[in-house]
């Protein structure tokens, strides 16, 4: 059965520069939220603009609810698509107040034939309240801050009750505290209204929290499309590992179906994600939470760096063959280890998913 939304082999170029080349992903069910993660300038915003129809693609197919929006024969104008986009730079009309800006959207979308979803169950006042900007209704865009303007833009796009909601870095200009609250409310709104959403962000925690699926957009297109859990624990390529910049690759030899060997760490047990031949030399991904600290262990390495992250500490250990291993420790751990001190690793080493490349 066809998916709710499909973005198939889409290419887009501007001024002869290829921005998207054969990019594909899809949203299986209505009501799902998909996050597109990727470095700056890779084309995340362009994907949203192509979906909304304000950029015309060079080739490929974009399909929503079994209806072709854009392919080599068809192009549906943006105003006919019932897709809402919340712009990163908010795109509020400077000569209208906040309320007029929001109503500007409602007027057209709810009273024209294209929207069969009916009005949203949240009113404008509810939404402004939920995004902590209830008092701004009569202000003009130049009288409010960037972060506030962005949330007003978000309200303007949600209130449509669209078939597909596109969010471009919706909370990029907020402090962490407000961001957490706003994310929680957004998630609640999306789940209770069942609005299908594509979210573009470079904040992986935002992506993991809000989405059902994550797509990692790198130079070669969407390189991995999976659940947040799998994206985090079972990255499918070195490029994805590098993008998250979390963990190191160490050389190991495959001993059996569930055992690897490294000359500094010794035996490492766990479930191999991919099958390898016995004796094969591969690289194993070690993430900070994979190794456990144990003061009584005989396997000790030198601490060369320590990062305090509030709830936890990440130690970097140096092995005799100059590997640098990150180890995660709860920050209430009874005693702290200074740099150049020896630090014990619990044996035998067991890692849930052995991800090798």
């Amino acid at each position: 059965m066809a998916h709710y939304f499909e973005f198939n082999n889409v290419s887009y170029s501007k001024n002869n520069e290829h921005i998207l080349t054969n990019v594909s992903f899809s949203i299986p069910r209505q009501g799902d939220t998909v996050a597109i993660l990727g470095p700056s300038g890779i084309g995340k915003t362009t994907i949203l603009k192509c979906i909304s129809g304000v950029r015309k693609i060079d080739q490929g197919t974009i399909q929503l609810k079994n209806k072709i929006l854009h392919d080599s024969h068809t192009y549906i104008d943006p105003e006919q698509r019932n897709i809402a986009l919340s712009f990163q730079d908010n795109a509020l009309f400077p000569h209208y107040t906040v309320e007029e800006n929001i109503r500007f959207g409602i007027q057209k979308s709810l009273f024209c034939s294209k929207n069969k979803n009916g009005p949203l169950k949240y009113s404008m006042e509810d939404l402004l309240e939920l995004f902590f900007v209830p008092e701004l209704k009569n202000k003009y865009p130049h009288e409010i801050s960037t972060g506030q303007a962005q949330r007003v833009g978000l309200v303007r796009s949600i209130i449509h009750n669209p078939d597909l909601l596109l969010l471009d870095e919706p909370f990029a200009n907020l402090d962490q505290n407000l961001k957490d609250k706003a994310q929680k409310n957004l998630k609640e709104i999306l789940k209770s209204t069942g609005i299908t959403t594509i979210l573009v962000t470079h904040d992986k925690y935002e992506a993991f929290y809000l989405s059902d699926y994550c797509g990692i957009l790198l130079q070669g297109g969407i390189v991995q499309f999976d659940s947040p859990y799998n994206i985090h624990h079972i990255p499918n390529s070195k490029e994805v590992v590098e993008f998250f910049n979390r963990g190191v690759l160490i050389p190991v030899e495959v001993v059996s179906d569930d055992t690897l060997f490294n000359k500094d760490l010794g035996e490492i047990k766990g479930k191999l994600v991919k099958k390898y031949e016995k004796g094969e030399q591969v690289n194993l991904l070690i993430q900070p939470e994979d190794l456990e600290h144990d003061d009584s262990s005989t396997l000790k390495f030198e601490v060369i760096d320590k990062k305090f992250r509030g709830t936890n500490l990440i130690y970097t250990l140096q092995t005799p063959s100059a590997l640098q291993l990150p180890v995660f420790v709860h920050s209430h751990h009874e005693h702290l280890h200074a740099e150049q001190e020896k630090f014990g690793i619990k044996q035998p080493i067991f890692i849930d998913h052995l991800v090798c490349f």
């Binding site: 603009k49 909304s52 129809g53 304000v54 015309k56 060079d58 080739q59 080599s72 192009y75 104008d77 943006p78 105003e79 698509r81 897709i83 809402a84 986009l85 712009f87 730079d89 795109a91 009309f93 400077p94 000569h95 500007f104 959207g105 007027q107 057209k108 979308s109 024209c112 294209k114 303007r156 796009s157 449509h160």
Partner: protein, 535 residues
């Protein structure tokens, strides 16, 4: 992969471009044609005089407008003194007085048995004062008239580059130990220099193209020579040969203006801009500043308007209500018609450039806006001869009838001359309107047309008003195009005043002149807020 659609946006720019081409092509071709006997005679005798006169007037006007314009801009941007706020906007009223009307008032005041003579007579009893009163006519008169009516270009653009400088720059200079004078010399003046050059180039182009003033003072320059060889000697070949020289001089300043405009963009404020803190002047320095501005305001605006008012009061019989009503109707209707055409064309083109992002359209438009460089005299003369050429070619007279000596021809010529004003006015508004806003509007369910009506039009309202006012003032004051292309017996304030003045009936010119200034002043006051930001 997408079907190619004809972009209707091209048409308006293409249309104007064609008319901009006409003078250039006609003059270009004429260079290869045989010259008439009259031209040979001229070549041996007067051509160099014409060029020399043109350059003399130009030099005088540039020096004076620099002093007036930069001086006034410097004082009003950086200092506070009695009347400074008033002068900031009041000085732009001089924009309402065309230089040829200024020339009439100079003659009325300083002329034989003129107002100064009567005034002295009245004060000190009869005597032969006229031997003592200096003559302000000829070259001096032309230079003064043009300087007082054109310095406003330098004032406005220089002022804009002064006020957009950040206080941070001035403070940085102070921290490095610069005195006020050094700060001006090393920081403020250099960064405003491109702006000043733009202003002076505009003055130069206006002054070279001037016809009314030099013709009134009987100074033979290239423009009057072109007009005379066309109207009096009926020698079109000579008119073209002379036009060539004129165009070459104008193009030098056009090039200078373009270069400086692009340079001046580097000096526009960036983030962290902080408005200049004005310094309060005290004592003698305050008195000097106020005197300078007051003199400038008096000479450029109060003087001409009081002269004209004096005539109106002295010779009320010369004011014919019916005639003034007819002139008002003629002038206002041609102003409204042209302004509407220009605004529609400018919107069409700008909107087209915005949504099609076509490089070709950009290039065509860039060419078409250069119409303002072509002096009115040349534009009118070449347009007429081109039309008769086309009529002959088509062997029918209707083209000639339709365009020459008709309102249509007049409006087209105005559009070519003032297209850049309209295009750039709307463009500067559009540049402030992020294209994401268009996308947002489409996504909120509005069509392209709906977006234009609901988003673009309301946002661009101030620009629209400013353009309408500026175009209206320019058309009110425009003389040579109207004089040559107007329908038979169709008079505007400008042509009527000129006709009387050229027949030495200056008192009769007072009525139309007064009305012209009043209308222009109203337009200026309506848009002064936007004009002061610089154009």
């Amino acid at each position: 992969m997408h079907t190619f659609k004809i972009n209707y946006w091209f048409l308006s720019s293409l249309f104007i471009s064609c008319f901009v081409c006409i003078p250039l092509i006609v003059i270009g071709i004429s260079l290869f044609q045989d010259v008439s006997g009259y031209y040979q005679l001229l070549g041996e005798t007067y051509v160099y005089t014409y060029i020399a006169n043109t350059l003399l007037v130009l030099t005088g006007v540039l020096v004076l407008t620099f002093i007036f314009g930069v001086g006034a801009a410097y004082l009003t941007s950086f200092y506070q003194f009695p009347g400074s706020t008033f002068f900031t906007w009041a000085l732009i009223l001089s924009f309402a007085v065309p230089s040829y009307i200024y020339a009439y008032s100079l003659t009325a005041f300083f002329g034989y048995f003129g107002n100064l003579y009567s005034f002295l007579n009245y004060l000190f009893g009869p005597s032969d004062y006229h031997t003592l009163i200096p003559k302000v006519d000829g070259l001096l008169g032309s230079i003064l008239s043009m300087s007082f009516s054109l310095f406003i270009y330098v004032y406005l653009i220089t002022r804009a580059s002064f006020i957009y400088q950040s206080q941070n720059l001035v403070d940085a200079g102070k921290i490095m130990g610069f005195s006020n004078y050094q700060t001006f010399k090393k920081i403020i003046f250099p960064s405003a220099r491109p702006g000043i050059v733009v202003g002076l180039s505009l003055v130069a182009m206006e002054s070279i193209s001037d016809f009314g003033t030099v013709s009134f003072f009987n100074i033979q320059t290239l423009t009057t020579a072109i007009y005379d060889s066309w109207i009096i000697f009926d020698d079109i070949a000579t008119a073209y040969q002379l036009s060539f020289f004129l165009i070459v001089i104008v193009l030098i300043f056009f090039w200078l203006e373009r270069m400086s405009r692009s340079r001046s963009k580097f000096y526009m404020p960036t983030r962290g801009y902080e408005a200049i803190n004005k310094i309060q002047l005290q004592g003698t320095s305050a008195a000097y500043a106020t005197t300078f501005c007051l003199l400038l305001f008096t000479c450029s605006f109060l003087f001409p308007i009081s002269q004209i008012l004096l005539w109106v009061i002295q010779f009320p019989d010369n004011i014919h209500l019916a005639q003034l009503i007819e002139l008002s109707v003629n002038t206002v209707s041609i102003v409204i018609l042209t302004t509407l055409c220009l605004i529609v064309l400018a919107f069409f083109t700008n909107y087209g450039m915005r949504i099609s992002k076509s490089k070709f359209l950009n290039a065509v438009t860039n060419f078409s806006v250069s119409g303002y460089v072509i002096p009115g005299v040349i534009l009118a003369v070449t347009l007429l001869s081109f039309l008769s050429f086309v009529s002959k070619l088509a062997n029918s007279n209707w083209i000639h009838f339709l365009f020459s000596g008709s309102i249509i021809g007049l409006v087209i010529a105005y559009c070519v001359r003032f297209y850049s004003l309209a295009i750039n006015g709307i463009k500067s508004g559009y540049e402030k309107l992020n294209t994401n806003l268009d996308d947002a509007s489409y996504l909120l369910g509005y069509t392209k047309f709906g977006t234009f009506i609901k988003i673009h039009l309301p946002f661009l309202q101030p620009n629209l008003l400013l353009i309408a006012m500026l175009v209206a003032i320019d058309i009110l004051k425009e003389l040579p195009i109207t004089l040559i292309l107007r329908p038979f017996n169709f008079e505007t304030f400008a042509t009527q005043a000129y006709t009387f003045a050229s027949q030495d009936m200056l008192e009769h010119a007072a009525g139309p002149s007064l009305f012209l200034i009043i209308f222009s002043a109203i337009f200026i006051l309506l848009s002064k807020k936007y004009i002061l930001k610089g154009f």
